[in-house]
């Protein structure tokens, strides 16, 4: 009797776990979390990081604000990547809408670098049949396929340009290229490109169909400027399996650091034929008086756990905070916002 009961309990436990974990993986749309990296990573549970190891959030000299929201992600492995840089940086996670408040010179003494893995102003659909209608923020931009995109707050529109003019390091990762695409075109000029995979859009006056995303794509990322402080000493490039994009990158406004060997089968499905597909995978540029780094790589754990990817982004953070990068940006200012901002 006991044996039978035990077997039945096992069925419940295993069955429940299987269904829940399958659902979790499916709903997240991402690969399962990678194991914790070896060495240097803090324990996930307990302790305050006072046992000699590096605590969660790091304790390095470069102060980084990490901005997320607007796109779901696999949280623990993402944070583990940030912790892996913990001897160089101290990072703080600040999500929208709190981030919109903090992106101001008023609070700029707190951080050296602002790192974005967000989609500011993400779109919402018109809802599925039989489900409650989504809440559409007032003033939203409506696309041809009935998606609604909220505009940035007046405070953010006013303060963010001032922060850029002050001269700070900015790092944008992967889907951060889709922030405010429909409602704040100057923001795309800060990043160096624009994406939206869910709605047609106008970028730099050119009408595009939905941009393209290609999940779990094996790629080789080639460094095309091996002398830059970010890529110096990193070799020719690295292999990674990650989501690739077909988006409108501003080739004429950025300094390329890396390119992918991925080519979409038919770029015209995702880009207006007036815009040639760009295989840019990483670049630097200036926005107002601030140095900017962007990489298209970094959707999920397969990239975050790749040592070469961590080296690239880790170097980018250190570069963005460096006096050399700040001096370079101030010597080569790029006006994006009009003077009233």
């Amino acid at each position: 009797m006991k044996t039978r009961l035990l077997k039945q309990l096992m069925v419940v436990a295993v069955g429940g776990f299987f269904v829940a974990s399958a659902a979790s993986t499916h709903l997240a749309g991402q690969a399962p979390a990678a194991p914790a990296p070896q060495g240097g990573a803090p324990a996930a549970r307990g302790g305050g990081g006072r046992g000699g190891g590096i605590p969660q959030g790091g304790r390095g000299p470069i102060k980084v604000m990490v901005v997320t929201k607007g796109h779901t992600y696999d949280r623990e492995p993402f944070f583990q990547m940030w912790d892996s840089w913990g001897s160089d940086i101290t990072w703080s996670h600040v999500e929208h809408p709190a981030a919109d408040v903090m992106l101001s010179p008023k609070y700029s003494k707190l951080f050296d670098v602002y790192a974005f893995f967000d989609i500011g102003g993400p779109g919402v659909g018109s809802g599925r049949q039989g489900q409650p209608a989504p809440i559409v923020p007032p003033g939203s931009f409506k696309t041809a396929n009935n998606r609604f995109y909220p505009p940035p707050s007046e405070q953010l529109k006013t303060e963010f340009p001032k922060l850029l003019r002050e001269g700070k390091g900015f790092v944008f990762l992967h889907h951060a290229s889709a922030a405010w695409t429909h409602t704040w075109p100057e923001y795309s000029e800060v990043v160096g490109g624009a994406c939206d995979w869910y709605a047609p859009q106008r970028v730099r006056g050119i009408d595009h169909p939905n941009h393209g995303y290609f999940g779990m794509t094996p790629q080789f990322i080639t460094y095309v400027d091996k002398a830059h402080p970010i890529t110096k000493g990193l070799g020719d490039g690295f292999h990674v399996t990650d989501e690739a994009y077909a988006c409108h990158w501003f080739e004429d406004s950025v300094h390329p650091l890396a390119r992918t060997d991925f080519q979409p089968a038919d770029p015209t499905k995702n880009l207006n034929p007036k815009v040639k597909y760009s295989n840019l995978a990483a670049w630097v540029k200036v926005a107002e008086n601030s140095p900017v780094f962007f990489t298209q790589v970094g959707h999920g754990v397969t990239a975050w756990a790749t040592p070469a990817y961590r080296q690239l982004v880790g170097n980018a953070i250190k570069w963005a905070a460096s006096p050399e990068a700040l001096a370079w940006a101030k010597a080569n200012p790029k006006r994006i916002f009009n003077s009233s901002n």
Partner: protein, 116 residues
């Protein structure tokens, strides 16, 4: 035969439990409820996936935002505090030591906003 039937019942129970968990997960990250909650952390390590999944499970009632120190303390200001309806704390400020020139640890001090 009876044993097989019982096993099917138990499998059904297992599926129900699993689907319940899946339903909780389906609410998505950050929730979409009317109560705006700032969740403040830092100063003590924690199991991030489990902790955030817990907040996601409340997602029909709340929309939550993670906010860490030192940025969190800036919201102790009436001018911007109404960004959120509720501030939830799972933090432990004042425990992070920085080695001084003499090697002795010094601990961060309460922020002026928290004091005033």
């Amino acid at each position: 035969m009876r044993n097989i039937s019982k096993t099917f019942i138990w499998v059904a129970v297992a599926l129900a439990i699993g689907m319940g968990s899946a339903s909780m997960l389906a609410q998505g990250q950050w929730g979409n409820g009317p109560i705006k909650v700032a969740i403040v952390t830092k100063g003590h390590n924690f199991d991030r996936d489990g902790f955030f999944a817990f907040w996601d499970s409340l997602g029909q009632e709340i929309t939550w935002t993670h906010l860490q120190h030192p940025a969190a303390l800036e919201f102790f200001d009436p001018a911007i505090a109404d960004t959120f309806d509720v501030y939830a704390f799972f933090d432990a400020p004042g425990r992070t030591a920085t080695p001084g020139p003499d090697g002795k640890p010094t601990f961060e001090q309460p922020h002026r906003r928290r004091r005033t």
